[in-house]
């Protein structure tokens, strides 16, 4: 049977990744399904519940989600030889999942906006009153990680979110919506994952992306093999591929920051070491997820 990949990468990116893998492994055919993380998870959960998970490999969202799967015993441990080229914080010590890239969350602003923000704190300034929007952690995995990350930073914390709320910021939907809101001028500033505004800016959209001085949060789109994988061998080859230099170059071409050490950055990004990635502990983030969601909802009034 074909190798089945469930991914939340955008369509074209998923296609490119799969094409690259199949070129490197001509004997393996890949069927892939892509959707937003919540839907992929719903599908996967239902399959697991029905006793017949179809997927072999997951390439989705963030380490928190995979950590959850790992704890539920749904993942298979595999020690990839490529792991040596990765920062230890970017993969699971037991080999259950490996980060593949860094998707950071920074600030987007409309080029016609009066204020050019450089730090998170700028968003709480009076000039930005009512003009800030952000994805909701309830919809976007990246947004949840982002909130949990900033909440743990000294000087920001939940107080920062409270300040934003007091300044009229809204929390809405996913990242795509933020891009549209800011690009269309409905809002002036937003929190958003890096690649979207950078790509759109290249196409001419009136937006600018900023890596704030305090640092950015990052999700790492980890790859993992399901414990129930029917094509475990092919799945392992897939993991090796996305971690390999070739696989990582593919991500760079698509405009992502690669997770592997010693890679070039895609165009439009500042140098890798100028990007300060704020740390997050997957295990504790997982433990606190429910509480954090409640806190966030408490601030933004939703459930």
């Amino acid at each position: 049977a074909n190798l089945v990949l469930y991914t939340s990468q955008p369509n074209e990116d998923a296609q490119a990744t799969v094409d690259g893998f199949m070129a490197a492994n001509p004997d393996i055919k890949v069927d892939w399904v892509r959707d937003g993380t919540p839907k992929i998870m719903a599908k996967l959960q239902a399959e697991i519940e029905a006793g017949n998970p179809v997927a072999d490999v997951l390439l989705i969202a963030d380490t928190v989600t995979l950590e959850r799967l790992k704890e539920a015993g749904k993942l298979m441990a595999y020690k990839s030889p490529e792991a040596t080229n990765y920062d230890a914080s970017l993969y699971d010590a037991d080999g259950y999942y490996y980060s593949t890239k860094l998707i950071t969350t920074g600030i987007i602003y409309n080029t016609s906006a009066s204020l050019k923000p450089t730090s998170w704190k700028d968003l709480t300034k009076p000039e930005a009153k009512g003009l800030v929007t952000m994805p909701s952690p309830l919809t976007s995995g990246a947004a949840l990680i982002h909130a949990q990350t900033l909440a743990g930073v000294d000087g920001l914390g939940w107080d920062f979110y409270k300040g934003l709320a007091a300044n009229g910021a809204t929390a809405a939907g996913g990242n795509g919506g933020i891009l549209k809101a800011v690009a269309s001028g409905e809002k002036a500033y937003g929190m958003i994952v890096d690649y979207m505004p950078i790509r759109e800016k290249a196409k001419g959209a009136p937006v600018e992306f900023v890596f704030p001085t305090e640092g950015v949060s990052a999700v790492t789109e980890p790859v993992g093999i399901l414990a129930s994988a029917k094509n475990a061998d092919a799945a392992k080859k897939f993991v090796d591929y996305v971690l390999s230099e070739k696989g990582q170059e593919g991500f760079v071409k698509l405009g992502y920051i690669p997770a592997r050490n010693g890679m070039k950055l895609p165009e439009g990004f500042p140098a890798r070491d100028s990007i300060k990635v704020l740390p997050i502990n997957a295990a504790s983030a997982l433990k606190n997820t429910d509480a954090d969601l409640k806190t966030f909802s408490g601030i933004y009034g939703s459930n």
């Binding site: 074909n2 990468q9 955008p10 369509n11 074209e12 990116d13 892939w32 399904v33 959707d35 919540p38 839907k39 998870m41 719903a42 599908k43 959960q45 239902a46 399959e47 519940e49 029905a50 006793g51 017949n52 179809v54 409309n110 009153k129 009512g130 003009l131 929007t133 909701s136 309830l138 919809t139 995995g141 809204t170 929390a171 809405a172 939907g173 996913g174 795509g176 919506g177 549209k180 800011v182 690009a183 269309s184 001028g185 409905e186 809002k187 002036a188 979207m196 790509r199 759109e200 196409k203 001419g204 959209a205 009136p206 937006v207 997820t289 429910d290 909802s297 009034g301 939703s302 459930n303």
Partner: protein, 564 residues
């Protein structure tokens, strides 16, 4: 003894059991499977915790309020169009009703976004009028009212189609008798036409209400920014967290939606009781009211509504497809057909999606037509409790968000089907079955209300002619309810063509649908491609509707809803 039937039963003995079987497969099986999983998830407690969560109750409240308001709005718009277009001498009826059916083809998210833009600070329209709110002003559509308004706009065509079918069978002489009694046009309308078309109106209201309780796209875009969660959006968030309780939560939330829609149906049932307004003798020739000077008022109102419901979102789509990037102002210089050429000639998925969606939609519409006519026949002739239960069970899947339906079907079909040992999961068949389940209610409503208006003597005459069940179904009943059947087929086709959430979970390689393709493009930031594809879908539908128009002469009278 052979050939005898129980008294009071004009239907073949197998008919009702057959309908029950279909309903078991399409509705009961997946729902029961979900409920089982839910119960298992709650086996070690937890239901209380969920039930005591205030979020649940505020979502229930918002679901109800938005659905009720939305239903009212869709009733107002849909009824206005149906009455004006079927009963009056307003000009350009054909064109208007043709256009009025189209908004259903524009995904709700697109309509919502278009409206947000139209009413927001960057609205070209408001800017031109110099009344655009300043950057950062609160968006008025991010509110209960906004959600309800969009529900209303989105579902008005459903009301229109359901009501039109029932207006087609108004008795002409009854209207004339009222006029001769001295009743003005308005009184005739209020005293005769309105009550006689009530079954159609109620059917439309029920479809609209049930669609609203299950809608995800609109509250997702308009509700979440204002922290207004409805049950479908709440369910959606539950799926993003993978916990052992997910299924329990989802089953519980789904149950609440089901209860709401069944309650809505019970109200409908009550409202319909004693309104078995069989039209006696001949009917069909519809009454025409002369509007006179009122035309000057009504015609512009209809066109303005069409503009906001169809033209504005459609132009937003076109504009979105022609700009090189989001937010770039559209001028002749910036305009590019890049997106269209990419979609048409490069993206392999386009063709697959068109083929899949068209065959799924056509398959669903036709299968449902057959089942629906049988079911409507069986259900209108059966007034007992069992009949009512079956009727409500049919409604439930449509009232649930697509994601729940999809999950239920995955639960049922992910493993090979026992006995025959075939896996349909991952094939188009599972999508087809899920569509059948979900749109059964849509297709049933107009047909049932048509049956309510049928003079029973017409069928009796056919029976006495010796026509057995299928024979009279084909020769007499179906042609007589053709307007409703046509409405039903077209409704289902249009909705299925554009469907997203069900297929989003059920598709796999090679079985993408148009909805999935558009959503995926949009979600990955290629909103230009998504818009281009949406524009193509709308054009395709227009094209098909034109084809239908050409064939209209060969179809039974009244089938094509934009023809009089």
């Amino acid at each position: 003894m052979y050939g005898y039937v129980r008294p009071g039963n004009s239907q073949p003995a197998w008919l009702f059991p057959f309908i029950v079987l279909i309903v078991l497969i399409l509705s009961v099986l997946p729902l029961a499977r979900l409920a089982m999983t839910g119960v298992a998830a709650f086996a070690n407690g937890g239901a209380i915790a969920v039930l005591s969560d205030p979020a649940l109750w505020s979502a229930t409240y918002y679901t109800l309020v938005t659905a009720v308001l939305g239903t009212i709005i869709s009733l107002i718009i849909g009824c206005a169009f149906a009455f004006l277009l079927t009963l009056t001498d307003i000009r350009a009826k054909g064109v208007i009703s043709f256009l009025f059916v189209l908004p259903m083809m524009i995904p709700p998210q697109v309509t919502a976004l278009a409206w947000v833009q139209m009413s927001g600070p960057s609205s070209p329209l408001l800017k031109a009028l110099h009344i655009a709110p300043p950057l950062g002003s609160p968006q008025p559509l991010y509110s209960v009212g906004g959600i309800a308004l969009l529900y209303g706009v989105q579902h008005a065509p459903l009301v229109y189609l359901a009501l039109r079918a029932s207006l087609m069978s108004l008795p002409r002489d009854g209207v004339e008798a009222a006029r001769l009694s001295g009743a003005s046009s308005f009184r005739v309308f209020r005293d005769i036409i309105l009550p006689l078309s009530l079954p159609g109106i109620i059917a439309g209201a029920a479809i609209s209400f049930v669609s609203s309780t299950g809608n995800f796209g609109i509250p997702a875009i308009l509700g979440i920014p204002a922290s207004i969660y409805t049950l479908p959006t709440l369910i959606f968030t539950k799926f993003s967290a993978f916990t052992s309780r997910t299924f329990g939560d989802v089953a519980l939330l789904s149950a609440i939606i089901a209860i709401i829609s069944v309650a809505g149906l019970a109200i409908q049932d009550r409202a319909l009781r004693g309104r078995d307004y069989r039209v006696l003798g001949l009917s069909g020739a519809t009454a025409t009211f002369e509007l006179g000077y009122w035309k000057l008022l009504f015609a512009p109102v209809l066109w303005i509504l069409i503009f906001f419901m169809l033209a504005a979102p459609f132009f937003a789509l076109v504009a979105g497809a022609l700009v090189p990037a989001y937010g770039v102002p559209l001028t002749f210089k910036t305009m590019t057909f890049q997106a269209f050429s990419e979609i048409l000639f490069t993206q392999a998925v386009t063709r697959t999606a068109f083929v899949n969606s068209l065959s799924l939609a056509a398959g669903t519409a036709l299968c449902l037509l057959m089942v629906t006519v049988l079911a409507a026949y069986a259900l209108t002739r059966r007034k007992d409790l069992l009949g009512r239960i079956v009727a409500s069970v049919i409604e439930i899947p449509y009232s649930l968000p697509g994601i729940v339906v999809a999950v239920s079907f995955i639960l049922v079909f992910a493993a090979p089907i026992p006995l025959i040992n075939v896996t349909i999961y991952g094939t188009v068949w599972i999508i087809l079955i899920a569509y059948l389940s979900s749109f059964f209610a849509v297709s049933l409503k107009p047909v049932v209300s048509a049956f309510h208006q049928l003079d029973p003597a017409l069928e009796e005459a056919a029976r006495l002619s010796g026509a057995g069940f299928f024979r009279r179904l084909k020769d007499i009943i179906v042609p007589l309810i053709a307007p409703a059947a046509g409405a039903s087929v077209i409704l289902v086709f249009l909705i299925a063509c554009n469907e997203l959430t069900i297929s989003a979970l059920l598709w796999s390689a090679g079985t993408q649908t148009l909805g999935v393709a558009i959503y995926n493009l949009d979600d990955s930031g290629s909103s230009d491609l998504a818009s281009a594809l949406s524009v193509l879908v709308v054009l395709m539908v227009v094209f098909m509707m034109l084809l239908l128009e050409l064939m209209a002469k060969r179809l039974p009278k009244g089938v094509v809803p934009w023809r009089n």
